[in-house]
Symmetry: C2
Subunit: 334 residues, 2 copies
């Protein structure tokens, strides 16, 4: 039984209301009584019940967060950024993983709604829009992270995936590769589509001598990259360079190449995406573009908290533009 404000009031010999006012600094009241109350609260180790406050105020001072998988480096950093901002603002953070399974995401949303989170940060499952629709229909403020639908009404914090992938791909092509492959992420995801588009644009710009091949729908994981690489390397014409959808995939490519006795970058040039912490220590160090995951999380949380604070401005569309980071995996000068 946690101690309640009633206990504090009794201990201090005042009414519950007075205790409440002393504790929350509402109206002015006798300095002496205030002290007695604060003293009693300290002595009894009083902490106000969030549940009761939520019940009466309708606000929980808790944010919800749904990500694909908090253990994946990019999401891990995003969660970190969100948590830091949330806690600084005195908010709790309820974390859920969807594994990009919509029904799971909806379960999570139901829990979050029951717990009356004040807002939600979400990397939507993009097999369909049900998660986002749920949030909208429930009138829960939300901010999209990493992925988004075209609806401009949504607040969102993303990176320019098209430009990022284009830059990385073009870099590879300028090194002279004429047979390039691309492992594209799930094409339901806006990020997966955009990165493929960027690759394709670079290929088009490369002119007629460039021949490109790609596989789609590979998960943003080591395994996804591995499978994608197997597919690309099994084609009739082996690519001399591969653009992976992200760094984890690139690791999968390295694994596949290693198994086939191909040396990266000599036999197979490679670029990834995201610039995870260990990218520079991989074998070989990975050429990639930098996705500022921590900042994305922080910015998203700030936007959400602003909304909860009454921010009525038009939708926030924050787009970071990643820098290309050249390392050894792409071949060419480092």
């Amino acid at each position: 039984m946690p101690t309640t404000i009633k206990d504090v009031a009794r201990e201090a010999g005042v009414s519950v209301t007075t205790a409440h006012r002393a504790l929350n600094g509402k109206s002015e009241l006798g300095a002496e009584k205030r002290e007695r109350v604060l003293e009693a609260a300290r002595k009894l180790n009083y902490v106000p019940s969030a549940a009761a406050r939520t019940l009466v105020s309708g606000r929980s001072r808790t944010l919800g967060m749904i990500v694909t998988n908090n253990a994946s480096p990019v999401y891990a950093d995003i969660v970190r950024g969100v948590e830091a901002v949330a806690r600084d603002a005195g908010y709790g953070l309820l974390l859920c993983n969807s594994d990009d399974d919509q029904s799971r995401a909806l379960e999570c949303l139901e829990i979050l709604r029951a717990k009356q989170v004040d807002g939600v940060l979400i990397t939507p499952v993009q097999s369909d829009r049900r998660d986002i629709d749920y949030l909208r229909n429930s009138h829960i403020p939300y901010v999209l992270l990493l992925r988004h639908f075209d609806d401009p009404a949504d607040d969102r914090v993303i990176i320019d995936n098209e430009a990022a992938a284009h830059g990385a791909s073009r870099y590879l092509l300028e090194l002279g590769h004429q047979q390039v492959g691309c492992i594209a992420g799930p094409q339901e995801t806006s990020s997966g589509r955009a990165r493929l588009s960027g690759f394709q644009r670079a290929v088009r710009e490369g002119g007629d001598r460039v021949r490109a091949d790609f596989v789609t729908g590979q998960a943003f994981t080591v395994e996804g990259g591995y499978q994608g690489a197997i597919a690309l390397l099994s084609g009739d014409v082996r690519p001399t360079a591969i653009v992976a959808a992200n760094d984890l995939q690139a690791v999968g490519v390295i694994k596949a190449a290693r198994e086939r006795g191909l040396k990266v970058p000599d036999d197979l040039a490679l670029v990834g995406g995201d610039n995870i912490e260990l990218a520079e220590f991989l074998d070989p160090p990975l050429t990639t573009f930098h996705q500022p995951a921590l900042a994305i999380g922080r910015r998203g949380a700030e936007i959400l908290l602003d909304r909860l604070d009454g921010d009525e401005r038009p939708p926030h569309h924050v787009t970071f533009v990643p820098d290309l980071i050249v390392r050894a995996s792409s071949g060419g000068p480092v």
Copy 2:
């Protein structure tokens, strides 16, 4: 305004109590009325208020979790494991990072207590025992993960760090190294101490010809390993092998070695710890021991949920025994 049970009752034309019973399947009641209620609930998209339930029941169906840093690979996996088990049981998960700062941890605990979490999973800040004392004094059930104090009353899920580090160190010594270094983690942490002990035991067992050197207090991060390596490599006698406190530190060692033109493992053999996902793809692939972080999280959450379910058995002390994973960084046969 979310819809309440009152709305459902009105819609169904029954009393609140009846609605409650229909929704919670308490006592038997007219099948027809039950249907009307369920139908109304569905139609109104009713979700019971967790805040109200918490207020009346005293239980929130939420777990709290405090880790050093959810973005660090081991913690990320632990969080993942906890979240999976928690959600399967219908529990929410409130996540906090302490950055191993006790005052921050205590802030988090205050929040968690206010939100009346039913239990807490924690990797304690071990600068002192205030976080654990707080939990105990607040009568909040808790399970320690990764780290522990000697108090056998605490439930805990850890690995045998001493044995793990001993095995890794001995492996290195058996390769013939006579000048070995160890980068030890913060010695306030039980894991940091145990890993150093394991190293020292291996050195003792190595006999008189083995000369060992070590630095303590290096953070379990790339930077910590880097600094530690600088220190060890700047000594009068350069070690030919280094035992890092974990894989991230080992990465830092690789970085330092690279900067100094030392080749791993030829000029400097290296072992880490934890077996993070990318350990095998590093340059060079890292010899390490496997810490089953996901399983640790899962097991911890299961124990905690059992406690909440009334498990009164003696304290659970789960200790996983890590396997050594030999890769190229240690030199020797792979």
